[in-house]
């Protein structure tokens, strides 16, 4: 099933029709689609290397006045459809600000908030939706494996990149490769704490994207509790988590390292210099806790590999800029 079948049924018919036509009119743009954006009273936008508007007849355009205008009820109704017409099933999602669709597509939400005792209770009225198309590129991690393993054992790795450069896609494929034992590495049991449900794209608990045969996934669980739950009960040899960055995350990693289990995660940063500027991440590198740093960018398009560094010695192991590709 392609992502069209996974995403389009959740959009209000008016917008769904326009996008279905867009898919037929401009298939070459459709396959590169990264985001679909619905904002109340704004033109319908799609992002895929280039920011475009979509007309009611599906033709992509750069002129906002010709594009299909998204009305406020369209946005509200789309959220309702995404919750199976049962908003009460989205209580947690409206608090966190995102929904995960079957297939792992992440839908970001913004709008009017309901606040109680100074903290966000939930989104009251959603006026902006950002649908991020999840893509699985099986095999993109294979060329990196030799740099991230020693004697077939995965090294403690952090993937850093700006948004939309393919962090999660690479992390997912690395987990899959380690778990399946691809390209000569010994298969390991992986425990994945998928706090935001983006890596495995779980729908009702079952991963929709391939994260390997030896991977146990804990979906929607806070990292700290999740990591310890897995360590206690599932005996993982490698712990993987999605994006770290909150202050508490660092202590967590230190604790994991003390248990002697492998570790792989991602973080938001533009490059290694930027990484060094963020106090919480800086400590990680300074202490030599991270053995490998993989840096991605969008320089040659999403999934551009800037290089692989040794986290301890800061020595570059691979510095040739290239696009990560699926090698058949």
């Amino acid at each position: 099933m392609g992502y069209a079948e996974q995403v389009l049924p959740f959009l209000v018919p008016r917008i769904r029709w326009a996008l279905e036509k867009f898919r037929r009119v401009a298939p070459e743009k459709w396959v590169k689609l990264e985001e679909i954006r619905l904002r109340a009273e704004q033109p319908l936008q799609v992002e895929g290397g280039q920011s475009l508007f979509v007309r009611a007849d599906g033709v992509p355009t750069t002129r906002p006045d010709q594009a299909l205008k998204v009305e406020a009820p369209d946005v509200l109704r789309t959220v309702q459809l995404m919750g199976g017409n049962s908003l009460y099933t989205l209580e947690e999602e409206l608090k966190e600000g995102f929904i995960t669709l079957a297939g792992g597509h992440r839908v970001g939400l913004a709008g009017e908030c309901l606040v109680g005792r100074g903290s966000l209770l939930r989104l009251k009225r959603v006026t902006s939706i950002n649908i991020r198309i999840a893509r699985q590129l099986k095999g993109i991690s294979l060329q990196l494996l030799p740099f991230l393993t020693r004697d077939g054992r995965p090294l403690r790795t952090i993937i850093i990149s700006p948004p939309q450069a393919g962090k999660t896609t690479l992390l997912r494929d690395l987990i899959r490769s380690f778990s399946n034992g691809e390209a000569g590495s010994a298969p390991v049991k992986v425990g994945l704490v998928d706090e935001r449900g983006e890596v495995a794209g779980s729908y009702r608990g079952v991963p929709q994207l391939d994260v390997g045969m030896r991977t146990d996934v804990l979906t929607g669980c806070p990292k700290r509790e999740g990591v310890f739950l897995l360590l206690r009960s599932m005996g993982p040899q490698l712990i993987a988590t999605d994006e770290i960055g909150r202050p508490g995350d660092l202590d967590l990693i230190e604790e994991i390292l003390n248990t002697g289990v492998g570790f792989i995660t991602t973080a938001h940063a533009w490059d290694t210099k930027d990484l060094a500027l963020r106090p919480s991440l800086q400590r990680l590198c300074a202490q030599g806790l991270v053995e490998r740093v993989v840096v991605l960018s969008r320089r040659l398009g999403p999934g551009t590999l800037e290089g692989v560094w040794n986290g301890r010695t800061k020595e570059a192991l691979l510095s040739q800029v290239q696009r990560l590709e699926v090698k058949g």
Partner: protein, 171 residues
């Protein structure tokens, strides 16, 4: 010849009386089935936080045929791709099934009201709306039961009596 005619008249009016009395009974059965349905729904929504489409699909399988048709077509509408909200789908299904079910106008009004907030509020509010509907359905059911007891026989006898009267007048 006259005898046959008289017999037919009596038979027809008896039948009419009988049909009317069964309608009363049917309404009572329907209301009771709906009470049951909303009680299950309360569990599905309140404890399981199950989406409406799935919840109604599951519930409808356990209910008598007429209610089953109503609820499973609602579930199908929700799970379909028409992009209707829960309320729109609910009202559509109610209109479609209005002819086929032995319910009174006030029962329909109650079901229509239920659709208003369906699926658009948080769990707590959904549960309280379901409970309110159950209470109203129970009230209607009690009324239907009383009416049944009081009038069931009446309508049957009335049917026979009316037929006999017509025959006596014209014989």
């Amino acid at each position: 010849m006259k005898m046959i005619g008289a017999f037919l008249v009596i038979a027809a009016s008896t039948m009419a009386g009988w049909v009317y009395s069964t309608l009363l009974k049917k309404r009572l059965h329907l209301l009771n089935a709906l009470v049951q349905c909303f009680q299950w729904l309360e569990t599905e929504v309140g404890y399981g936080s199950v989406p409406l489409g799935e919840a109604f699909m599951r519930i409808s399988a356990r209910l008598p045929k007429e209610v089953h048709v109503l609820l499973s077509s609602f579930a199908a509408e929700l799970n379909g791709t028409a992009g209707l909200t829960a309320d729109e789908a609910w009202q559509k299904i109610l209109t479609q099934n209005r002819e086929g079910l032995a319910l009174k106008a006030e029962d329909w009004a109650l079901l229509t009201d239920f659709g208003w907030t369906l699926g658009t509020t948080d769990r707590e509010h959904q549960v309280s709306a379901i409970r309110q509907t159950i209470a109203r359905l129970r009230h209607q059911a009690t009324e239907a039961e009383e009416e049944c007891e009081k009038n069931e026989r009446l309508y049957r006898y009335l049917g026979i009596a009316a037929g006999t009267l017509v025959v006596l007048l014209f014989y």
